[in-house]
């Protein structure tokens, strides 16, 4: 049988693809969580910075034409709420610093009134976030443009970011692990129908050519349909070849039977010995061809059934009795007596009844053919650590023939030219023995002349 060419496993491929997707999703999840959280943290800081700047702005006073600021404590303390970050501020009135850090840079584009501008930059060795708001404060002259900038280092934010990164990593890894486990389950459950189908196909008996009737997922239904179609075509094809064999046998054997019957009639009517001899030779040729045809058919049948060996209980004792009694009339023609020796209890044996019978029939048929007139054939079934089904005759034995060659197709002994045979009988017996895990043993009869052919099976 040809083994399937295996090109990877669907389950593994499915699993790996699902895992790859899970990994991609996990990484995305990580970035999304971290991004959102950072944005939220930054927005919080920005909000507080803006509130701080606004509260400073609210504290601006115009006093006798000059702008004064009484820096509210809360404006800076609310920033401290986040962390021990350093806070810088600067209030600029019309380009001149009113109070705060002189070197705190102003945004390039000063925000318009009621808007806030945010900037991130390095300042005095730390990264800072700065908010600037602009207010118009009315003085006695023209209203003054006051820009308030409040900046804060981002250490607290970095701590939060790190914590969030940790959480995002944990979430990503957790998601990945859960998704991997689920992928494994999904791959397994998705392929379960294939497994069930495989089981129901492989569990079938050898001769079972019924269509598959199993619950089929939509995706597999074309496959099951194709398989069923194939099974039915195989069945039809087997039927056709069986019919052909039967028909061929019928076509060949019926005319042969006619010729043989006519030849026998003619033989009986002829008087001259040479004519009779010619007719006899003709009849023997007919017998030879019909025997070959029959044994070829039997051999084909044995080969076919051996490939699909049945395992039913076989009653070997019954087979011995039946085969012996079936061949008794044939043996009787030569006054050959078939004796059977069987145990009281049939040994347990599983196999193909028809094949065993066919093997024994061929063995016995041979024994009768090669037996001299008025002789004995012993068929015995014995159990001594093995099952031994033997057929012993008192015939001519094997002469100088190498007995093992007799097992091969069309091989015949060196001392049997005068007897009609096809050289297939022992081949059939050998094939049957092998199909049942046994062997065919051919040896000279231990009691003087003759042959002893045995089917030997392990017990």
């Amino acid at each position: 049988m040809t083994e399937a060419r295996i090109t990877g496993s669907i389950r593994r491929r499915l699993f790996l693809q699902l895992v790859a997707i899970a990994a991609l999703l996990s990484v995305s999840l990580f970035f999304v969580i971290r991004g959102l959280a950072e944005t939220a943290a930054e927005a919080t800081q920005d909000g507080i910075l803006a509130a701080s700047a606004t509260s400073i702005a609210d504290a601006l006073r115009s006093d006798a034409g000059a702008i004064t600021l009484d820096l509210p404590y809360s404006a800076l303390s609310m920033l401290g709420a986040i962390n021990q970050d350093r806070v810088f501020y600067r209030v600029v009135v019309d380009g001149a610093t009113l109070t705060g850090y002189d070197d705190l840079p102003s945004p390039d584009d000063a925000p318009t009134i009621s808007e806030s501008s945010f900037l991130t930059f390095d300042y005095r060795g730390d990264e800072v976030r700065m908010v600037s708001v602009t207010r118009a404060v009315s003085t006695e002259g023209a209203p003054a443009n006051v820009m308030i900038s409040v900046a804060q280092t981002r250490t607290g934010l970095a701590v939060i970011t790190r914590r969030i990164t940790g959480i995002a990593t944990a979430a990503g890894v957790g998601f990945f692990l859960v998704a991997t486990a689920l992928s494994l389950l999904a791959a397994r459950s998705a392929l379960r129908p294939i497994g069930q189908m495989t089981a129901s196909v492989t569990r079938r008996g050898p001769g079972d050519l019924r269509p598959l009737e199993i619950d089929t997922p939509t995706e597999l239904s074309p496959f099951v349909d194709a398989l069923n179609n194939f099974i039915s075509r195989l069945g039809a094809s087997l039927q056709r070849s069986e019919d052909l064999i039967v028909e061929a046998a019928h076509r060949v054997r019926t005319p042969l039977a006619t010729v043989r019957a006519k030849a026998e009639v003619t033989h009986r009517k002829l008087n001259k010995p040479e004519h009779k001899q010619a007719m006899r030779e003709m009849i023997r040729a007919i017998d030879e061809s019909s025997r070959s045809a029959g044994q070829l058919l039997d051999h084909a049948m044995v080969t076919f059934r051996s490939d699909n060996l049945a395992a039913e209980d076989v009653d070997l004792v019954e087979i011995v009795r039946e085969t012996a009694s079936r061949l008794e009339p044939t043996a009787g023609l030569k006054d050959v007596i078939i004796r059977t020796e069987v145990p009281n209890l049939t040994p347990p044996f599983k196999g193909d009844w028809l094949l065993i019978q066919s093997a024994l029939q061929n063995m016995l048929d041979n024994a009768i053919k090669y037996s001299p007139d008025d002789s004995l054939i012993d068929v015995s079934l014995s159990l001594n650590g093995e099952i031994r089904l033997s057929c012993k005759d008192q015939g001519r034995g094997f002469g100088t023939t190498d007995v093992d060659t007799l097992k091969s197709r069309f091989a015949r002994g060196t001392n049997v030219d005068d007897i009609v045979g096809s050289g297939l009988g022992l081949t059939i017996a050998e094939d049957v023995a092998r199909a049942h895990g046994g062997l065919l043993e051919i040896k000279p009869n231990d009691k003087g002349e003759g042959a002893c052919v045995s089917l030997v099976f392990p017990l």
Binding site: I245, V246, A249, H250, V252, R253, T254, P255, L256, A257, T258, V259, R260, A261, K262, E264, V265, H267, R268, N271, P273, K276, R280, I283, R284, I286, D287, S290, G294, L297, D298, M301, V302, R326, E328, P329, T330, G332, L333, K334, D335, L354, Q357, S358, Q361, K369, D373, D374, D418, I419, V420
Partner: protein, 222 residues
């Protein structure tokens, strides 16, 4: 014996009929199942030879019907198919035996005899000559109260002589009746068997006489 041959092939049928008649049997031939049913209704047969493939149906149908009607006539199926694969169904359907075509008539006869013996035989198959009764079905020779079981060839040889007492049978004819075509034996082999049946007949008033140059015949020695 009276045979019914059910066989659709005309050539084969006529050859078989002729061949069986040569051995002194009466044979009716039916070419179809219908003809076979008609024959069975009209006459009693000792044995039916049935072909499986017939133009108006399967021989198995005949077998089933025959068995359902509880007819006792034994049926031997003649099949052209593989012997092994066909046998199960045939015997299960009630065939008494089967024989594959082409068949050896002496084997057919041996099978008929075996079947009839298994079935308990028919009383009519006894031939009496002088004080000897030959029961072919039982394979027995009875001389007075004495019963002897005959071997196959002895029986067949005695049957030949008992069928036509007084007739001279040539060695060659007896050879034809006794040996199959597979046997390569000289004409002297027949003398062995004639010797044997002479011994069997010794206690009786019947004997086998040698007719020099012609053969043997069965004679009443009284």
């Amino acid at each position: 014996m009276r045979f019914l041959l059910i066989e659709d092939n005309q050539n084969l049928a006529s050859a078989v009929v002729e061949r069986l008649q040569l051995d002194g049997h009466a044979v009716d031939h039916a070419g179809t199942l219908q003809a076979a049913y008609d024959c069975i209704a009209a006459a009693d047969y000792d044995l039916i030879l049935l072909d499986i493939m017939l133009p108006d149906g399967d021989g198995r149908t005949f077998l089933q019907r025959h068995r359902m009607a509880e007819k006792r006539t034994p049926v031997i199926v003649t099949t052209a198919r593989s012997a092994v694969s066909d046998r199960v169904g045939l015997l299960d359907l009630g065939a008494d035996d089967y024989i594959t075509k082409p068949f050896d008539f002496s084997e057919l006869e041996a099978r008929c005899r075996a079947v009839l013996r298994r079935r308990g035989g028919i009383a009519a198959n006894q031939i009496t000559f002088a004080d000897v009764v030959l029961d072919a079905t039982a394979g027995e020779l009875r001389i007075g109260d004495q019963r002897e079981t005959l071997r196959n060839r002895e029986l067949r040889l005695l049957e030949v002589f008992f069928s036509s007492p007084g007739q001279v049978f040539s060695k060659s004819h007896l050879m034809d009746r006794l040996f199959s075509f597979a046997d390569d034996v000289g004409e002297n082999a027949i003398e062995v068997y004639v010797g044997r049946i002479r011994k069997r007949l010794e206690p009786s008033k019947a004997g086998i006489e040698t007719v020099r140059g012609l053969g043997y015949r069965l004679v009443d020695l009284q």
